[in-house]
Amino acid sequence: MLNMFTHARRMAGRALVGAAALALAGGGVAGAQETIKVGVLHSLSGTMAISETTLKDTVLFMVQEQNAAGGVLGKKLEAVVVDPASNWPLFAEKARELIEKEKVAVVFGCWTSVSRKSVLPVFKELNSILFYPVQYEGEESERNVFYTGAAPNQQAIPAVDYLMENEDVERWVLAGTDYVYPRTTNKILEAYLKSKGVKEEDIMINYTPFGHSDWQTIVADIKKFGSAGKKTAVVSTINGDANVPFYKELGNQGIKATDIPVVAFSVGEEELAGIDTKPLLGHLAAWNYFQSVDVPENAAFIKKWQAYTKNDKRVTNDPMEATVIGFNMWVKAVEKAGTTDADAVIDALIGVTVPNLSGGFSAMMPNHHITKPVLIGEIKEDGQFDIVEQTPGLIVAEEWSPYLEGSKDLIADWRKPLNCGNFNVKTGKCGGAGQ
């Protein structure tokens, strides 16, 4: 016990020295130590390491690039990496450590919704900034969080539209892992499909646990559901690890994309790198970015990224692009505000526009979500995507879905005078139902 307390004190002491150094630096003592700290809160071990490690590398890469370009506000950036180890309470603890002890100006992090929910109170309490780079279920808009991933209307709905228009799909299997993102997305899709005249009996919804590995029964059910004489498609919100056995089983049972196409929202280049993609030819994914986007910006980025990772096979993916956009937005906002002070940067961020990697620009909207193009890709044999459709314009995120009972009257606008993440347009009050 004693041992620990001395350590605790030493820890506190170290934080103090850091703070003092910063204070001195602010006082005008120029030097190499003068840095702005950037927190990186991605799991490097445990079940989520599989997805999140790449994003840690992405932030480190962006920090290096930015420093090579002269840093921010004349100071170098310094990345502070912690490992929350796929453990949700540890996310909150590490977030607190980054903000309170390391005094980072901004944090890039989280993947799962539960990790975001876990750190949310910390960011609110300590008034810091989190950039969240993953597509998610929406139904949230917080002052301290900037969502650079897709909301459901920026991914799921365009994908379903594509299948209805181009593949004449009339029967739908909504298969997902049992957690909030699939649940919410499927609720939204169900309401959307019904509004398009799809009948109840033509929708099959199925949930499986995380890491589900025996798909024989479910794939057979899908096959059965698809043999009713109407064109059937699977909308998959199956999460990470469960995808590999799912696709392997699809291949084994001989379900080809020309019979029953599967469109996935959580399968990107990184996930496909672990699968033999030949049997998956033609299955689809909807994202806001693919590595195969054929524009010079993207080619340049991939080249630099592969040089940085010293691996010419290293892939890029959508959450990476979202991280890059978020990072660039933060840099731009800091330069606009002339300070890294959280309040000033939060205000400055709205309206910031930076180039995305698909040849256009993304803007931070007042709801703290960004505008995005939606791309539909078909899986090719080499594990890349053939982009078969791209929305003509940019799509603004619907953070509160109009298809859900509880949120259809809510909007978010963090500009003055509204300054509210859940404004009810019916009651005219901030705070949900506003009672």
Partner: protein, 382 residues
């Protein structure tokens, strides 16, 4: 653990332990509140929450040591009792949010609103009332332990069989709580708490109070365990651990003894969970994961099984190591260190830190004094 001497309610190490706990619960608040933030001895709030978390883990480890160290029940499902206590507290905290949820629904928690639930499930009734929630913190894990233990001990399921079915139990609960249809928030669990008993949960004062309460719970838990193990009841427990069949032949109903210890241990774990949740701000099904329960066993082994103080010490040390190693340059290697630590402790400190210290002290005393009766620690029944 000596059978030849009647130990005092609190041995030397117990007194030191309680003194340190007391000192911490006085010093930490003082150093946090009264000392200026730029002083070298200031304890930031961040450290307060961290210490509070360690203390709840220590209480959890204590509950494991009671049944593993003294009854020989290796529960690989202790995390389930911890999580149940945590959920009971979490449900209370959820109900306290009231209309401050993002949807502003006065009754339903947010996760129910956006999944279109229309009314509160029956098992959420009563949790807006703190005394009821506090009762459930004890009863939920207690009743589960009672039912589970009643079946298992009566059927004389022992050793690894018992360990594996406790693991199956926590795994089944993990799967169940992951299901959104269960009404416990699925994978996201319960989070975004606001108040506890009317106090803002993020205020420094609340944090300090929770920290002091955790220290108090740990202290009382320790005294209770000490009291139990040195009573007649405790001696029967140790006897069961060492030779269950013989105890039964002597006329004791071994299963009842085991059951009482198991239920007490589950309730202690539940209290630890209830104190843990408001300090970390989230409860989620991953607390049920079997790996977590194994980790608790590791804490106890590192500190020293069957020493109580050791269990608490092990929990704090291992978790401090985890906090320390998961930041900074060492982050990519921390699993190597943690893994290496477990291997090293089993190989070189088989009795754990405190157990080894006791051995060393015993040896020195024997060396100094007249040779005492041999105190060979009995090989625990597996």
């Amino acid at each position: 653990m000596s059978i030849t001497r009647q130990p005092a309610l609190l041995g030397t190490s117990g007194i030191i332990f309680l003194a340190v706990l007391f000192a911490a619960s006085v010093l930490v608040p003082v150093l946090n509140l009264a000392v200026a933030p730029d002083s070298a001895v200031h304890v930031p709030t961040y450290v307060v929450s961290l210490l509070g978390k360690y203390l709840t883990y220590a209480l959890l480890a204590l509950s494991v040591d009671l049944i593993w160290g003294y009854v020989g029940i290796l529960s690989l499902g202790q995390g389930a009792f911890f999580a149940l206590g945590g959920y009971a507290m979490g449900m209370y905290l959820m109900r306290q949010i009231g209309t401050r949820g993002v949807y502003g629904d006065p009754v339903l928690p947010d996760f129910m609103v956006f999944l279109n639930w229309k009314e509160l499930p029956w098992f959420w009734y009563g949790f807006d009332w703190f005394p009821f929630a506090a009762l459930m913190v004890l009863l939920a894990p207690g009743i589960l332990a009672l039912v589970f233990g009643w079946f298992a001990f009566r059927s004389r399921v022992t050793g690894v069989y018992l360990s594996i079915i406790t693991q199956a139990m926590t795994f089944a609960l993990l799967l169940a709580f992951f299901r959104n249809d269960m009404g416990f928030g699925g994978n996201n669990g319960l989070t975004d708490f606001k108040d506890i008993l009317g106090f803002n949960i993020q205020a420094d004062g609340t944090r300090l109070t929770l920290f002091v309460l955790s220290a108090l719970a740990l202290g009382l838990g320790y005294v209770l365990c000490r009291f139990l193990v040195r009573s007649h009841f405790g001696k029967v427990l140790v006897a069961i651990r060492d030779a269950e069949t013989r105890v039964r032949f002597t006329g004791y109903r071994a299963e009842n003894y085991k059951l009482v210890a198991f239920v007490v241990s589950a309730m202690l774990a539940g209290i630890a969970g209830a104190l843990y949740v408001p300090q970390v701000g989230i409860i989620n099904p991953s607390e049920f994961s079997p790996a977590n329960s194994i980790e608790i066993i590791v804490w106890v082994a590192v500190g020293g099984r069957g020493t109580l103080v050791g269990a608490a010490l092990g929990a704090v040390l291992v978790n401090y190591a985890k906090t320390y190693f998961t930041s900074g340059m060492l982050a990519p290697y921390w699993l190597f260190m943690l893994g290496g630590l477990f291997v090293a402790v089993t190989l070189f400190l088989p009795k754990g830190i405190v157990g080894t210290y006791y051995d060393w002290r015993e040896k020195r005393r024997r060396h100094d004094d007249i040779p005492a009766a041999p105190l060979a620690a009995p090989g625990p029944a597996e």
